[in-house]
């Protein structure tokens, strides 16, 4: 198992290099001049612009620029500086925490609501509750985050306060600790909740049809035990993969939610930096996201072995 983890981490290196190179090239190919952007509406002084270009290696060929960047990351753990000379690591530090809080809140909601509703629907297949849950998930999938975000912000953040007088859900920002993440977390998790509900329902329904469930019933076990122990343990296995892969998705896909609720996370930062063509920041953020993806996937694979004894890592 230790060897498996090491092998997985070694495999992550080419993935990381490939992903960063790709992003570097894409940002390079964007139209516009980052140095000109520093001067706002004014015309940049050609001499100063030239000095800055030289300082940030902007006159060098693409691959050489990339090499300056990636060697710094690998050998010095230095993610470089943006064009205002602020270290990228410093820019990301607090923002990463905000996005992580948001993504984890969303993931927890997804796990509780999605799995809960899915199990409930599977055990009442064909009944009213099941149909209602399925219709609700369909609605949740079809409405874009942009809509659910603004609607919930208005209803829960603004109107609820006007009606009750109590500030239950903050409208925006992160000043209220965990409470400020509840509504954005739900908005971010929305579509995933719907998918996970459907996945859970299918998974449990399929498990309940399997031979070993028939055996468990034939053993004279109470229905509670047949479903709660024998079926559930098997039905959970595919859900773990989905949840693990979704953590990366949630962190990377938080741009819209962060903008609506004014959360200063890396999604927001990424959006700004792409505008300013700040390669080091964009690549730095993406590198972190790729790392999260890789780690989340590895944890999922390891959890697999815990849940399903048929899987062994040598």
């Amino acid at each position: 198992m230790g060897r498996y983890v090491i092998r997985r981490l070694i495999q992550a290196i080419p993935v990381l290099i490939g992903a960063t190179l790709l992003i570097y090239c894409i940002v390079f190919a964007l139209p516009g001049d980052p140095i000109a952007g520093l001067f706002g509406d004014k015309r940049p002084d050609p001499a100063i612009a030239e000095v800055l270009r030289e300082q940030y290696h902007l006159n060098d060929p693409l691959l050489l620029q990339y090499w300056y960047y990636i060697s710094g990351v690998i050998f010095r753990g230095d993610f470089g500086v943006n064009f205002a000379n602020v270290p990228v690591s410093q820019i990301m530090a607090g923002k990463f925490q905000v996005t992580l809080n948001l993504a984890v809140t969303a993931l927890v909601m997804e796990a509780i609501i999605g799995v809960g509703l899915g199990l409930w629907a599977a055990l009442r297949r064909g009944k009213a509750a099941d149909t209602l849950i399925l219709a609700a998930t369909l609605l949740l999938i079809s409405v874009p985050t942009l809509v659910t975000g603004f609607v919930l912000q208005l209803v829960l953040g603004v109107k609820l306060k006007q009606w009750t007088g109590a500030d239950i859900f903050p409208v925006a920002g992160t000043t209220e600790g965990l409470r400020s993440y509840l509504v954005p977390g739900f908005v971010l998790a929305g579509v995933s909740i719907a998918y996970l509900t459907r996945l859970t329902r299918t998974s449990l329904a399929e498990t309940l049809r399997s031979d070993y469930i028939r055996t468990a019933t034939a053993k004279g076990l109470p229905r509670r035990r047949v479903v709660g122990r024998h079926a559930l343990r098997n039905a959970l296995i595919p859900l773990v993969t989905y949840l693990g892969a979704d953590l990366g998705q949630l962190m990377g896909g938080a741009v819209i939610t962060e903008t609506i609720f004014n959360l200063q996370g890396i999604g927001n930062q990424l959006f700004t930096s792409v505008h300013l063509r700040e390669q080091p920041v964009v690549v730095g953020v993406v590198t972190i996201l790729v790392l999260v993806y890789i780690l989340a996937n590895m944890i999922v694979d390891l959890l697999y072995a815990v849940l399903d004894p048929r899987i062994r890592y040598e």
Binding site: Y212, R214, A218, L221, R225, R233, N234, P309, R310
Partner: protein, 345 residues
């Protein structure tokens, strides 16, 4: 106070002449979108303590559905039991509440399934699965139940039971897995054991070992054994009597030696003739002509008539009852005499 199976049903041996288990005129239907499938149409059979009944028939003949109805593990709906009784020691288990039924299941009547790999839960150790019987039904502690599991694994002759009790089903061979299935089913000394094609998924040498083990366990505990199979070779050695099923009905029942000597139903005769024999090497193998009946649209009259070499006009219109040939033998064929005499028309 928790109800035990002794509160639900009388303990001890069957009273007087009443057989241990009696299936009486059982009907099972499946209500599907395509229509009503009549899987079992009035099946009756009995098993006494220490007796082995072999239920023979091809896929779709209703033999497994009958067994699942006895166990009470049919999915209802879509399954419906419109008619019939299943009497265990005189009590109709179909009339018991679901709660009482759970007490009978596994404890008094147990079942072995065909494919032990899919019938055992892949994510729990075999010891956990066997010992669960003692923990749930007897309220034993984990340790004591696990000890019992090791004893049972020894009893079904799994080598190194003490070490292997913590292994998972996929770590065993097919034969060993079926032994685990058997150990689990006999854990609580059931009075009736239903084995649904217990050897079909195994290779021939292992088949013989498993059948031997079942026969031995039965001798020790005087269980009534219902052996569901389509393998006539398996039946000859271990069964006391045979019930042959076709299209959801019993078409012939008889003591085992009678059937092998002279079948009294054309279908049974066809089955026996289709066993490959060494002295017929080089000749074409015999097969019953035609296909098994479609359960959605059963042939009128005798369900076997489209495939029957003895067919007469009335076979198409009149459903034959189970004619009594002797006290222990019956055949659902209008022309059982001709079949018995071996004259092919």
């Amino acid at each position: 106070m928790k109800k035990t199976s002794a509160d639900v049903l009388p303990a001890g041996g069957g009273s007087g002449n009443e057989p241990l288990l009696a299936v009486d005129d059982l009907h099972v239907e499946f209500h599907t979108r395509a229509g009503v499938v009549r899987a079992v149409n009035g099946v009756s059979y009995t098993v006494r303590a220490g007796e082995t009944l072999a239920v023979l028939g091809e896929s779709g003949s209703g033999k497994s559905v009958t067994a699942q109805a006895i166990m009470g593990i049919l999915d209802m709906p879509p399954a419906v039991i419109p008619k019939g009784e299943i009497r265990f020691k005189g009590t109709d288990v179909l009339k018991l509440s679901e709660r009482d039924r759970t007490q009978v299941r596994g404890e008094r009547i147990a079942m072995i399934f065909q494919d032990a790999l899919s019938a055992l839960n892949p994510v729990f150790t075999v010891g956990w699965q066997i010992s669960e019987m003692f923990r749930v039904h007897r309220g034993m502690s984990k340790g004591a139940a696990m000890k019992k599991a090791v004893e049972l694994m020894d009893r079904v002759r799994i080598p190194a039971a003490k070490q292997r009790v913590h292994d998972y089903p996929h770590q065993f061979s097919g034969g060993m897995r079926q032994r685990i299935m058997i150990a689990m089913s006999i854990a609580l000394d059931p009075e009736v054991l239903i084995a649904d094609e217990p050897t079909t998924a195994l290779d021939v040498t292992v088949q013989a070992q498993i059948m031997e083990l079942l026969a031995e366990l039965q001798r020790e505990s005087q269980m009534g054994l219902i052996l569901i199979t389509h393998d006539l070779g398996v039946v000859a050695d271990v069964a006391d009597k045979i019930a042959v099923m076709y299209g959801g009905r019993i078409v012939e029942n008889a003591p085992v030696h009678d059937i092998y000597k002279a079948p009294a139903h054309p279908y049974t005769k066809g089955l026996l003739d289709s066993i490959p024999r060494v002295d017929q090497k080089g000749q074409e193998l015999y097969a019953i002509k035609g296909l098994p009946p479609n359960l959605l649209s059963m042939p009128t009259g005798c369900a076997f008539h489209p495939r029957c070499p003895y067919r007469q006009e009335n076979c198409v219109t009149d459903t034959p009852p189970l004619y009594e040939i002797s006290g222990t033998r019956g055949s659902a064929c209008h022309y059982w005499r001709e079949v018995l005499d071996g004259e092919r028309q």
